[in-house]
């Protein structure tokens, strides 16, 4: 029953921005559904194969901003072949045909081509913002079309993409009339950069707030850029090699002092560490620091820098900082909300850079901590219990022990109790990654306590199907479940097929599920796409007489309203 005219209701809906809330609003009644769909400007699609562009546009004709995600998360770790899917072009073609006024596009793990970038740049007059995260398939020629044709471009943000750098002149493709840039991030480009074009572009972009350079931008260029853009808020330093007595370095030091709005710092690929001190004057303003690519900087220099960063909320760092360094973080960064500690030594040669002690110190010293990603060599149940007590507010807790089946190094017990303590104490936990020696018991705890859990990553854990069943039965809010190298099979997979209606996707690789189990699942659930990825032998599965019992290498299933996709490569078998 509506006592208000539609325009009033629409105006009220304008204040509701989260897509979850808007989805909920649209379910209230037919009239609200209709009002909501015509007023929706931002749409988030977590799986590009769950829906198709035609249906999207039919429902939301006034679309202005679209977020699309393609490949499953484990694609980040080379578990999904490049040609699996997630192609952008059909979406751009459909959006262009419909003449929708697209202004923003945010993509994650999609295959983007130069052709689709060119089409994008020509089809939407008001296009303003392009954010590409972990995408691939395009070159700097595609960037050149965006630069040349998008007259109102505000954001060009390239994060962690694989871009074929043709060392072309894409930066000089921005017309002289382009003065609207707010974000320019090309840190992931590996080739040379036209420094003159870059400096001119920055000089004519008074609104530029975020600038992230690639490794081809040397120190003297950085100094000049910072003089042009003292209003910068977010800076990604490229290479940082220099001579501390040089004129460029002195100029840089002076320029940095003027950047009083600087809040976020990243980059430092190939850095000369004793020159980090140039940034000390602005450290007290920093809220975000990402040194995860600064592989050449010793722990001691990192610590010296961090000691100045009292307002830090987000810190991404390599484990070369050590437990001692984390203790400094704990005593200095009282505002810390998110910490990521990445491994610096992949060969694991007995290196104990960070241990459970560092994690405990952080949990004790940083009361606002809610997100952590921690790579370490060892862990104990006692430490995890302490961390749970210190930080009951975790939203994201991701632990990765480099030897994935390592038990508690003091008691030699599995880490079930430690993770159990985490899920029991952290009632708002939405994301969890497990590690270390783990039995079915940990999954019992997760099923019992992790009521808000939406994403769970499991590797080398569990004993029997019971483990996976505890999770599927217990975690009512589960959206994404990804499992690798764990002994879960058909029984768990098939126990409750309707569960997958409430989830976005399930990934299982190197587990115990068989082809016949997957086939049965596909039969029971026509609204599910059940994909088998078999790179090694495409047709052996069919020819083999024992095909039913043959184990499936990689299984990816997801709910969809548009049925089987037509663009799957030959090694992907959709049942």
């Amino acid at each position: 029953m509506n006592y208000f005219p539609d325009e009033v209701i629409e105006h009220v809906f304008d204040f509701v921005t989260s897509h979850k809330d808007r989805n909920a609003i649209s379910l209230v009644c037919k009239s609200w559904y209709k009002i909501e769909r015509y007023s929706r400007q931002k749409v988030f699609i977590g799986n590009c194969y769950a829906i198709n562009p035609e249906r999207l546009l039919r429902r939301f004709p006034c679309l202005k901003s679209l977020t699309l995600k393609g490949k499953p998360h484990f694609a980040d770790f080379n578990l999904v072949p490049h040609e699996w899917g997630g192609f952008l072009l059909p979406w751009i073609e459909a959006l262009a045909r419909s003449r929708v006024g697209l202004e923003e596009l945010r993509l994650k793990r999609m295959v983007v081509t130069d052709e689709s970038l060119e089409l994008l740049s020509r089809s939407f007059v008001n296009f303003k913002s392009l954010v590409l995260v972990s995408c691939e398939g395009f070159t700097t020629d595609g960037l050149a079309s965006i630069a040349a044709n998008c007259r109102h471009l505000r954001d060009l943000d390239l994060q962690e993409n694989e871009i074929d750098d043709h060392r072309g002149q894409w930066l000089s493709c921005f017309p002289d009339t382009c003065t609207t840039l707010v974000t320019l991030n090309f840190a992931c480009l590996e080739g040379e950069t036209n420094l003159v074009a870059l400096e001119r572009l920055v000089a004519r972009s008074p609104n530029l707030k975020s600038l992230k350079l690639n490794r081809a931008v040397p120190l003297d260029a950085l100094a000049r850029l910072m003089v042009c853009a003292p209003q910068i808020v977010d800076l990604g330093v490229g290479s940082y090699e220099n001579d501390p007595d040089s004129e460029s370095y002195l100029k840089l030091k002076a320029a940095i002092k003027k950047c009083t709005s600087l809040r976020s710092l990243s980059g430092f690929l190939e850095a000369a560490p004793h020159c980090l001190s140039a940034f000390h004057p602005i450290c007290h303003n920093l809220t975000s620091l990402n040194l995860s690519y600064a592989a050449e900087i010793h722990g001691s220099h990192l610590i010296k820098l961090i000691q100045h960063c009292k307002k830090l909320q987000r810190l991404w760092i390599l484990d070369s900082i050590g437990d001692k360094g984390l203790e400094v973080v704990a005593s200095t960064c009282k505002e810390l909300q998110e910490l990521r500690v990445f491994p610096s030594d992949l060969l694991g040669g007995g290196n104990t850079a960070v241990t459970e002690e560092g994690l405990v110190a952080i949990s004790a010293g940083c009361p606002k901590l809610h997100s952590i990603l921690y790579f370490c060599q060892q862990m104990t149940n006692a430490a995890l219990v302490t961390v749970a007590k210190n930080c009951p507010n975790f939203i994201r807790f991701r632990l990765c022990i480099l030897d994935p089946t390592k038990p508690d190094h003091v008691t030699s017990q599995p880490l079930d109790e430690g993770f159990g303590a985490i899920v029991k104490a952290c009632k708002s936990l939405r994301r969890l990654s497990l590690s270390g020696l783990l039995t079915d018991q940990v999954f019992l705890y997760i099923g019992m306590y992790a009521n808000q859990l939406e994403m769970l990553s499991i590797a080398f854990a569990g004993d029997t199907d019971k483990g996976m069943l505890y999770v599927l039965n217990g975690c009512k809010k589960m959206k994404k479940l990804e499992i690798r190298d764990s002994p879960f099979g058909d029984t768990a997979l098939l126990a409750d097929v309707s569960k997958y209606k409430t989830m976005r996707s399930l990934w299982m690789s190197s587990c115990e599920v068989t082809l016949s189990g997957c086939k049965r699942l596909a039969q029971k659930a026509p609204w599910l796409n059940v994909e088998i990825i078999n790179e090694n032998d495409n047709n052996r599965m069919e020819e083999n007489g024992h095909e039913g019992r043959q184990k499936v290498d990689k299984l990816y299933l997801y709910r969809t309203v548009v049925g089987t996709r037509m663009d799957a490569p030959p090694f992907v078998w959709i049942l």
Binding site: N78, Y293, E296, F342, L346, L347, G348, G350
Partner: protein
């Protein structure tokens, strides 16, 4: 096999005033190249630990390696005219003097830096910019940050 022990034994044998015999030092060299790991396949894995390719490539490209509480920085050393080079951990030395002393022992000849001399071999290095420079002009820790490889030139050059 304890890698740090074999590394330091290699370095310490060159610090001794007695020359290591060529076969002994080459055995030590091969020992120092074996890394212990719980799984022999670990080095080759592209899917563990779960980090992005970009970070993986960055870490692979680094020169500094940490083992325990020590750091090591291995660079290639060539003697001009000799096609096969050696590898040396620069972190094992306290400064230019000990570096020269050890190189002189390793290559069984006298090596200096700085002064050009018709009699001695002169030590040069390739820096971050790819330029070949005379060893000894900059402070030692700055040298460690910029050096990419070493070359011992023949005396006649100068």
């Amino acid at each position: 096999m304890d890698v740090s022990n074999s590394c330091s034994s290699f370095s310490s044998s060159s610090v001794d005033s007695t020359k290591p015999s060529p076969s002994e030092s080459s055995v030590n060299l091969s020992l120092s190249l074996t890394f212990p790991s719980t799984s022999p396949q670990r080095e080759a894995r592209q899917d563990w630990p779960p980090i992005t390719s970009r970070l993986r490539d960055t870490l692979k490209g680094r020169r500094l390696i940490r083992r325990g509480n020590d750091t090591s920085l291995f660079v290639k050393v060539y003697m001009e005219g000799v096609p096969i080079g050696r590898k040396l951990d620069l972190c094992a030395f306290s400064g230019y003097e000990s570096l020269l002393e050890n190189l002189s022992h390793m290559f069984d000849t006298s090596i200096i830096c700085g002064n050009r001399d018709r009699k001695h071999h002169v030590l040069t290095y390739e820096d971050k910019d790819g330029d070949w420079m005379m060893v000894g002009d900059i402070p030692w820790d700055m040298f460690l940050e910029t050096v990419r490889r070493l070359k011992i030139t023949r005396p006649e050059r100068y």
